[in-house]
């Protein structure tokens, strides 16, 4: 069942404004969340889905305030549990288009288990994970994506735990769609939002987001003009992995089983790594690339098809129904071993 509800033909022509709620937006001025909100509101009319069939579910954290600002159905739930709640909603209502909005703490720390399971089940929901590598709402403690040695209020001498890589995590969980985009790259974010929303099954989109209050410029590698030119690797299906300034293009190629950066000029066409969204193994290698030794890939790492959890459940139900018709409680109660006691008693 595809989440189109009343059917695309009946969908009204929306504008971005139709998706803006009447609530005051309460993020810190300059927060990357504003750009993401605007991009998502802008992407909504293109879905071609009546807005009453769209639901935003979130957990806890700065990003999780999101549903209040969308003029759709929304549920701001509890810390880390949005994927589980969305799973229940989707099982009850496969006709709805569901977005899960989460952050690095919500989705990968307290809710890591639910994230694992929504991904492996391949529930048809779109997960947007805003990664700012910090706890914003609780005022600046390190997060599970913070780099080792991160000095924060809770780690005055630097954090002792190594970070989790959201993309590698998602791929390891068996995600069927994994992508990455950046809050300061509006056109790319627009495109990725569309791709993620169009995917059937769980789509996992990491959005690199700036927390200008507690972790400003954490993603400067892709913000700073010069650095961006040097490090941004745009993934495009069927295109080679090339990056860098026009006069000094570099290529990521495979040497044995290890990715390697080389001067693009010296690479034979047959030796280029052609990006293939259907190749899960390649996606796993791409997920690990990061500056300074490697470029930073953005785009769709992987987009494959797999059985969708709720569809499997509903198929089983349909089969049972077509085999034997709908259940009847009166019949069930009297099924199996029963015995009668007559009015005389005994």
């Amino acid at each position: 069942m595809s989440p189109t509800g009343a059917g695309a033909a009946a969908t009204p022509k929306y504008t971005k404004k139709d998706f803006e709620s009447d609530q005051d937006v309460r993020w810190c001025p300059g927060c990357g969340d504003y750009a993401i909100l605007s991009a998502i509101q802008k992407s909504m009319p293109d879905l071609g889905i009546p807005k009453e069939n769209i639901v935003f579910i979130s957990g806890i954290g700065c990003s999780s305030r999101f549903p209040y600002y969308m003029n759709t159905y929304g549920f701001h739930t509890i810390h880390g549990r949005a994927p589980a709640l969305a799973t229940g909603l989707k099982v009850a209502r496969p006709d709805l288009k569901i977005f899960v909005v989460t952050g690095d703490g919500d989705g990968l720390s307290i809710g890591g288990n639910h994230m694992l399971h929504v991904l492996r089940r391949n529930v048809d929901v779109t997960v947007l994970l805003f990664n700012n590598r910090i706890y914003g709402l609780t005022k600046g403690q390190y997060s599970p994506t913070s780099e080792l040695g991160k000095v924060t209020k809770s780690t005055p001498l630097g954090s002792a735990d190594r970070p989790v890589n959201p993309l590698a995590f998602a791929l390891g969980c068996g995600a069927t769609f994994v992508g990455r985009t950046v809050d300061r790259n509006i056109p790319h974010m627009d495109e990725m939002l569309k791709r993620a929303a169009a995917h059937r099954g769980t789509a996992f989109l990491e959005i690199l987001q700036n927390c200008n209050v507690y972790n400003d410029l954490a993603w400067n590698v892709l913000y700073d003009k010069e650095s961006k030119v040097l490090h941004e690797l745009r993934l495009e299906h069927g295109k080679p992995l090339l990056f860098g300034p026009p006069d000094a293009r570099q290529a990521v190629i495979m040497q044995g089983v290890t990715p390697k950066v080389v001067d693009a000029k010296g690479v034979a066409e047959s030796a280029l790594w052609i990006h293939d969204e259907k190749n899960v193994n390649a996606a796993k290698l791409l997920a690990d690339l990061f500056a300074p030794d490697f470029p930073v890939p953005i785009g769709v790492l992987e987009d494959i098809a797999a059985p969708i959890y709720e569809n499997v459940l509903i198929d089983q139900e349909q089969h049972a129904l077509s085999d034997r018709g709908p259940g009847d409680i009166a019949k069930l109660l009297t099924s199996g071993d029963t015995w009668k006691i007559s009015s005389e008693g005994g």
Binding site: E52, I78, T87, G88, V91, L333
Partner: protein, 622 residues
Amino acid sequence: MSETATPVTGGRKSRKELSRAVIRFAGDSGDGMQLTGEQFTTESAWAGNDLATLPNFPAEIRAPAGTLFGVSSFQLQFGSQRVYTPGDRLDCLVAMNPAALKVHLSDLKPGGLLIVNTAAYEKRNLDKAGYAQNPLDDPALAERYRLHKVDMSGLTHEAIKDLPLNTKEKDRTKNFFALGLVSWIYTRPLEPTLDWIGKKFAKNPQFAEANTRVLKAGHAFGETAEFFEESYGIAPAEMAPGLYRAMTGNRALAWGLLAAAQRSQLTVVYGAYPITPASSVLEELAMHKRFRIRTIQAEDEIAAVTAAIGASFGGAIGVTCSSGPGIALKGEGIGLAVTAELPLVILNIQRAGPSTGMPTKTEQADLMQALYGRNSESPIVVLAPATPGDCFYVAYEAVRIALKYMVPVMVLSDGFLANGSEPWLIPDPATLPPIDVTFRTEKEGFFPYLRDPATLARPWVRPGTPGLEHRIGGIEKQDVTGNISYDPENHDHMVRTRAEKVRRVAQEIPPTSINGPATGDVLVVGWGGTYGAITAAVERAQADGKSVASIHLRHLNPLPPDLGHLLREYRKVLVPEINSGQLVRVLRAEYLVDAVGFNRVRGLPLASEDIYDAVIQLGSQK
């Protein structure tokens, strides 16, 4: 036990009429005692007796053979009068091995019937059970009990020696020898078991033949063996006329949910994580795909409850189920349903704790958890079934209340009710109270926290309804508009409103029924699975001429509106519970009555005898 001996005409053995009997089959976990007990139960139900059962099995999945902790047992009481409990002391014990004898002998009444499989009383098993000598050789045993030493294994092998089964397969049928024998002793009809064998082994005629022969061999052995000088008859009980079936508590919960789904025309979405003793509800529901049920085996307890809440947000009936430790994990989720004001049913099959405790043993110590075990002011409705069959009605009622009031409702069942069974008068589902649900579709004047004046319920809106797009969440909301609010007055108002909504469920509670005089010396107040033990104790005291009455609470939050008044009509109030005194505290706090607890926390149902003693003792106090 009342007895009248009547010689069976034409037979050389006499038949004695009993009003009731308590028997227990005990053996190694591999001896098939649960099946034996279940079949004996079915036979007794056919014979028209009222009955109650108590299965008791080891926590280990495959406990080492012959050990004390590997003993599995099945007890039932059956009678020609109303049977409220599986019984306290045994009239008959079948001990298939030394470990079973060691664990259970102390429960057998002096002079009780003790039947043992002598073949199992060999050195290895005796060692494992910690017997230095074979207890069967001790003359004191035969003096104290009516001991019957039967080589069940040998007789079993003899009965099927010509069948092409291996020794192990042959040996496995010996529980049917025991069943056949005990069926003869208590004049049970073999038909239901023969039927069962036919169905179970339809594809395997050799096993069918073996089990049939062994069952009949056991029966014939009773008839012919010299030492069984008499058999017992138990007349059919006076029971309400109608169609009956055996019902366990967990199946009844599952079917109650299915009935509620059918009646409301909504789908139950059931989120659960496997946990003893709750898992069988999930398994039962998962079989019924043709009903309005979708089950999710969640990744953990938290996901189970939040998935259920998500389903309720979507306009389905969200239900989750667990046992105490799992309920602890669900606490935050339940709080979300409290503040989001969504319907949610939480089934708690209580077990002995704290922590992992004794998963296969019963307890009713989660009452305080149900009432108060969440952060802040998070009132929910709490209901408790009294018997296995009652679980059906309570599950149905939980759904009805959750939908009508847009509140979480917790059902407190327990391990005893979950696995125990009773003959259950099958209801006509059409006679169940209606469950009417109206989803709001009207745009005009809509706010997410508008309230129904009678129930204070907010409107239930299915996502997908045009024009009613709205956001809810765990942050405090302004009443009516549902907008985020940190206003102190609003918070105080919302705390009171959520409490009042739960309090108003009291209008659903029928007048409390009193078992006994409307005023008197002692009132026994119980809740949950202790119903049978309390009722049996109270009726015994009444038969002794004592001024004693009992009431059993199904509604634990809110409490019945007439309860405060009732408590004052008796000189003393006794509250028996399988905890250290939880309801008794609530009653004392709520009504300022000097209620007294009777508390045993042994992982076992309360013994009716003990409650009787406590009643008599309290009644004799000034």
